[in-house]
Symmetry: D2
Subunit: 493 residues, 4 copies
């Protein structure tokens, strides 16, 4: 009902690409504080906004949300005291700023006939625009520009009586990648899409009747609250947690698992364990594979901090070349910074990174980074290392070339802007100014994950950004934007 800047907000791309973290807890003292801590541990999944909704007695909900870091939003004792109740759900969001953003901060909350429902969602729906158009036609009024609101309206109009049935009804109509946590008076519900593209783990705080269940995007959020890891939620699984315990439903039957391989490469925190595999060790193994595949004579292996560090360690160790912190990262960048004027831009100013000149001067340097997207950052880094006196600069990348956009929840630019979509490796080396450039091979990456190589028939991971193998339909992004699903109401009987 709020004034909107345009009549077609769902055409705004901003609403469709989100990296997010979710956290939920059922039946714990200090539920809001635990959720704030969990969101803090998941801060790397979204730094622009956060929200928490708690459930107190008699179905009363309490909410707080804001733009900024978790510590700033939930650092106020009065705010925390207002978030009453033993159950909570929280969300970190990667988003743009301004009023629009505040409307979009999750968890979304709605009053239904059956009571309130809070929903936190990580991922991206690929038929949200089509569904939204149909819902608006039916008389639904949209408030946010997030695809997550589609869930809420589908639940609202479902003809099922039961909340879980309504939620399943909604899930069956959407396409895309999602890990979601919903909270209502009767239960905390966790769900992963049928292919399990985005992560969701289950943990337990304390034992017996007084124990609490925790749901989170990554295990590092279980660690910070002292929860014991139980298991990953499975692809296509729905878990319903309440005072009677945990119940699991598989409404989609058997499905093929396609966890996002880029979480291993870059996105997940190094101290998390994803689907049984520690992230940090995987990254080191990728570095070792990379060294084996593309060795080069050099004096020093230097990571592009922070994400390139484990792979560089693996590379250095395998290659027998000293590992040195030849690039220092400045962690105090602040929200805004001066746009360098033309006069000083030629200085090659680096705000986030600076070369550790004495470690680089006169040396043959292997730079290790996790990926090349547009190539602009790599170009600046190589230039900075050269200005610091490197004799040679060899770039090694711990992922295959990023040739395709992600439509499943990782914020990547359009394909035209991906360097690897338009240039071969040799051209890329020239563009970024490196003496040599090498990416890990697809098979090498799968070997580092403990497989013999990539099995095209059943890769077991979503690697669409490297292969273009999109396992989930891209309805909104295909030819006919006007196509409306006619089965909408029948479906929801």
């Amino acid at each position: 009902m709020q004034p909107l800047p345009s009549t077609q907000p769902w055409d705004d791309e901003d609403g469709f690409h989100e990296e997010c973290g979710v956290f939920g807890v059922w039946n714990a003292t200090d539920a809001a504080a635990l959720t704030a801590l969990g969101l803090h541990a998941l801060q790397h999944r979204g730094q622009e906004a956060s929200g928490i909704v708690t459930l107190a007695e008699k179905g009363a909900f309490h909410a707080h949300r804001g733009l900024g870091l978790v510590g700033d939003i939930f650092g106020d004792a009065k705010v925390m005291a207002s978030l009453k109740g033993r159950c909570a759900v929280g969300h970190n969001r990667y988003a743009t700023t301004g009023e629009t953003a505040l409307r979009n901060v999750q968890p979304l909350f709605a009053d239904f006939e059956f009571g309130g429902l809070a929903v936190a969602h990580n991922g991206n729906l690929t038929n949200a625009a089509v569904l939204k158009r149909a819902l608006v036609r039916r008389g639904c009024l949209f408030q946010s520009t997030t695809d997550s609101e589609v869930f809420v309206h589908l639940i609202a109009i479902s003809l099922y009586a039961n909340v879980v049935d309504r939620l399943i009804d909604a899930l069956k109509q959407v396409q895309g990648a999602y890990s979601l946590i919903a909270l209502h008076d009767g239960a905390l519900i966790g769900a992963r899409d049928p292919m399990g593209v985005r992560p969701l783990v289950l943990g337990r705080l304390g034992a017996g009747e007084g124990g609490a269940y925790v749901l989170a995007s990554e295990t590092c959020a279980l660690d910070i609250v002292g929860a014991e890891f139980i298991r990953d939620i499975e692809p296509g699984e729905l878990v319903i947690i309440n005072n009677d315990g945990l119940r699991s439903i598989k409404p989609f039957g058997r499905t093929q698992s396609r966890f996002c391989i880029f979480e291993y490469i870059y996105f997940a925190r190094p101290d998390s364990v994803v689907e049984g595999t520690p992230v940090y060790a995987t990254r080191k193994r990728i570095g070792s594979e990379l060294a084996r595949e593309s060795h080069v004579e050099a004096d020093v292996v230097v990571p592009v901090p922070d994400s390139g560090v484990p792979a560089a360690m693996g590379y250095a160790s395998e290659a027998g070349i000293p590992f040195e912190l030849g690039i220092i990262r400045n962690h105090y960048v602040g929200r805004t910074f001066i746009e360098p004027t033309d006069q000083i831009r030629h200085l090659g100013v680096k705000l986030k990174h600076s070369a550790n000149r004495p470690m680089i001067e006169g040396k043959r340097v292997v730079l290790v980074d996790d990926s090349i997207v547009r190539g602009t950052t790599s170009k600046k880094i190589v230039e900075m290392v050269r200005q610091a006196g490197a004799k040679e600069v060899h770039m090694r990348i711990s992922s295959p070339p990023t040739t395709h956009s992600c439509f499943y929840g990782i914020d990547t630019p359009e394909r035209e802007k991906l360097l690897a979509a338009n240039h071969d490796v040799e051209e890329m080396a020239r563009i970024i100014g490196a003496d040599s450039l090498a990416f890990i091979s697809l098979d090498g990456m799968y070997r580092a994950l403990g497989r013999p190589g990539r099995d095209a028939a059943n890769p077991g991971y979503c690697d669409a950004c490297f292969t273009g193998d999109y396992a989930i339909p891209l309805t909104d992004f295909e030819g006919q934007p006007e196509r409306v699903p006619t089965l909408l109401v029948a479906n929801s009987k």
Copy 2:
């Protein structure tokens, strides 16, 4: 979709009592600036929040809203520049503070299948809760706690194809008092409820094809933008303004006119002309009637500023007693002020008013005020005048005793808190500490409006706060809150 503090916001009384001002313009250069000026002239109808929605080319809408005074919200050149377009609708609101309030600031805006629609509403619906319950049951998600949102959902779910038909469909389902202005790509629409309880006037800026139509709550808003007054919108009338001119519809057929008489007493600005009658002159005539009805020997007639001034002038002139500004009003009160501690409360501190001691000391004072609601203010004023040395204090009130609450858009307390609902005039005089107290009679008030007296069969005004004669049903406030209108969908065919 935003986090809400509770699952039943529509039980919150805050959403039901509103005094507001509305303004709209079609086809004018600087539409947003004209609207800001109009809202400024209507600031007395609501000081806590304002919003403007403009319509630019190709159905694109722009919006800005905020808490505070019009001048503060729309004083920023960048804000004004962003409100592009030749058509606009604006709203002033009397509201509480906090996030809740911001969600409720009008104009409400929604994206429909047919495009965007902005709605600004002054008044109060008396079946909003019943309708809201039915709408939620149907799957509608409510975002604000204002009854105005009910309009928007009724429009959204209407089965009519045409916007005007949908709006009429919605109006036929609501009960209560409303003057509303709606803006969509095809027209600016003004509407008054069938009894015309709340005001709405039509004006014109410039002549011929380049001329613009203006709708506003009061004529003072036409004056500030230099618009010529054309006529009042009639009770139950709908006017549709677009580039083809103005079209009038009367969907409710013939109805009885019941304009709010309290607008004359207190609420409207003194320089406005309402339904053909100047407010200032009416107030002076009421003062004269009051002097005739309840003369008292005195040395000086003193108004309680600012609202009591015209009646006091009429009283003084008729009674032949000098008129003096014996009470000074401090206009710089600020948003907040110190809660007086117990130690200083006994000083009888007056933040808004102070006695002009040299004009009062040793004198017999007639105090003239517009109404007595709870009586607390009158008590303080009388006490202050006595402390300044008055020999006698005679209170004269330019309205009949306020014995009933208003459910049609004027913020009055519950009946139990109305002094006149629980005490006769003699007791009231004792409670407020006056040597004598008199109210104008019902007939006297009607005489001042040019009638022979009150015609109970067809009073011509809504005077429910003085008589309890509620002409519009009070559905939400009657016995059966669970009653749901079953004809909702049929109605909207």
Copy 3:
């Protein structure tokens, strides 16, 4: 020590023209709350900034200051609780916005060898620039751009041991108009300049040993805290208030009294009594004198609100013409407002005033205002009244023509910008568009104050703005800005 925008801030005119209100209290429970109330009653003397310094036990001072209205700055219970102590001094300031202003908000406070000292000052020094130059030459570092800081440095470098002696030492070196209140560990001190240009009154709260003394710019500030008026501080008098009672010193010997006559015309609040004369009654008498001096045939007398109201009442009563509120003032202007664009400026938009058309249309109108400065406001008002249909507009001004600037604390523009400095009355009437224009005569104004007329040898009031008779030297504004008083240190022996 703060970064300053330029090296010569004391050349900035902003620091030299101030209208202010001061308030002080010694030995009262809730000293800070009383001071906030007093400043609230003095809000008309300065609306842009306020500050309070309190003195708690053992010479500990507490301070709070801010930009905005008193109620907003001191409306926070935590702020009030932090202002501990039974003694306080406060200040309202008319000032420009921005950081500069915050540095300049009074009371000024400094740590001396003998302890802390807070100083609040209303008025304007006329040799502040000369003194400042000498002080800087001596090594003094200035922080603010207010002339009041000169006081503080003169006190700091004085060679006298005693605070009061140091203050007198400082006062003997300054020229200009000032009413000041100083607070240190041993006493509350009030002082008026030798000619008593600016007002300062003494009051008492409670009796006997537990009683408190109050100092304030006007009696209305005594009224709000329930203090009894004792007397005006005399021109050139210093009162020292501490637990032993009140002591009076006259360091300047006999001096000629020259109270600012403009305080009666416009500046003081109508309910104040200044030097024994009620302001409201004086303004009415001026109106009567004006009617006698410049009668005109008319249908209605209309005040320019709010300041012109009492004079208009006096005029109407004397002339036997009906008094009507033909212009309505909008009190909700807000801090900022849209700069009207060229397109709508021609509408003659009035944000502060609007014509009450039904009272004006077709009538011969006498407009009564307090003064004409630049003439721009009068021009707009006349135009607005004509647009509302007035047949004739006769402007009557309740002060003589303002032909000279004030250098003693009233913010007036430079002489070139004063309409009356450059035009005779006939030209002025033409410029503002009135059918006739008349000012009260100098003698008429003095008659309204109870004198036979103006005695040029000893007028008894400062009327420099009407006569150019500047009784206090204008050192800073005369020819030789480089002149430095050489006696500075000798003086302060």
Copy 4:
């Protein structure tokens, strides 16, 4: 002149312990932008506040300062555009929040008889309180609570005509550690205290007449603006830079060099080169020395990030034990965060660090950190590593035990709170819960710096925090706080 919270602000310890960064540039296009970049590179030396003062034509100065990070304070294009001129000086400050802080943000600026002067200061004066007392006695009014203001007053009252002579006059009266940069109309001046405790380096941007000189706390600030390193400013040296070039003065004659050894251990950025020695390589060498001195059988060497990383790499390499990132640092902590409630405090929550469980579980861990101050952080880290499943935890510290407070500009707590001041190493191990604990020896630390060991007669570094050998008198902190230097004025002849 601003209201101060107490009369004795200089007793406030806050003003005396500062870690800061300074930067200055003479004669460069975009001087303000270069300074903002330089301050950004020095952000690790102070994150709470920053300021820049620029010098434009004709002696006009421009200033901006704020609380927060450099990028936030100087990220506004309007702010940067307002900082006109080719010369600038900037300052980063470690400070407390609130109004007090804003008054204290440097560069300090004052208007003298000779024009404006901006001063930025890193370090701590040890006789500031004594000097301040004498200055106040003389009539000086202090505005900030920083010891740096003492400089400004000493310059203001100096009897020398020339700015440089006045500055030398001031420097000769102060005791303590300082690197300062001053800017006035005629020159940019850099100075280090006679023992050169705090760092200051000289660089050059561009060559020939169009070239610019740069002064900065560390070489990393030269690198970011592309300036070439020329040399360290020498202990006790004053450099005066203007359009005629650079002039060096040694007003103190020969002095003993005592650079702060803790800058190598912790404070300087790893990519800086201090007094000819690269910081990163030094830290690795300290790690190697530490491994030689206190080897222990273990499975993994884990740094406490970020400061412990280079020493841990040196340790691991020398000891032949794998180096692993067993602790992950969360860089998104935000300004505030929830105070953990009692209920969740037992969870051992770590907001800044988390254990990388798979790298630690079941392992014997060597933890390497740079220092132990109070011991509370070490205790938490050890506990966290144990909770993650470590079999043994051996703590190794890359500095000797911190037994004494720093009075020369590093913020350390009082001696009573230093763990090593009150406990031997064995007790410390028990307190922090480690299986073993070892510090590098004093001689080992000096060996890592290329010396044979510590030469007690002439150590060449200030190591007072490890040895109590305070080379500069601690006047303010010794017995007689009332002692006032009597030679103050004579001195300033």
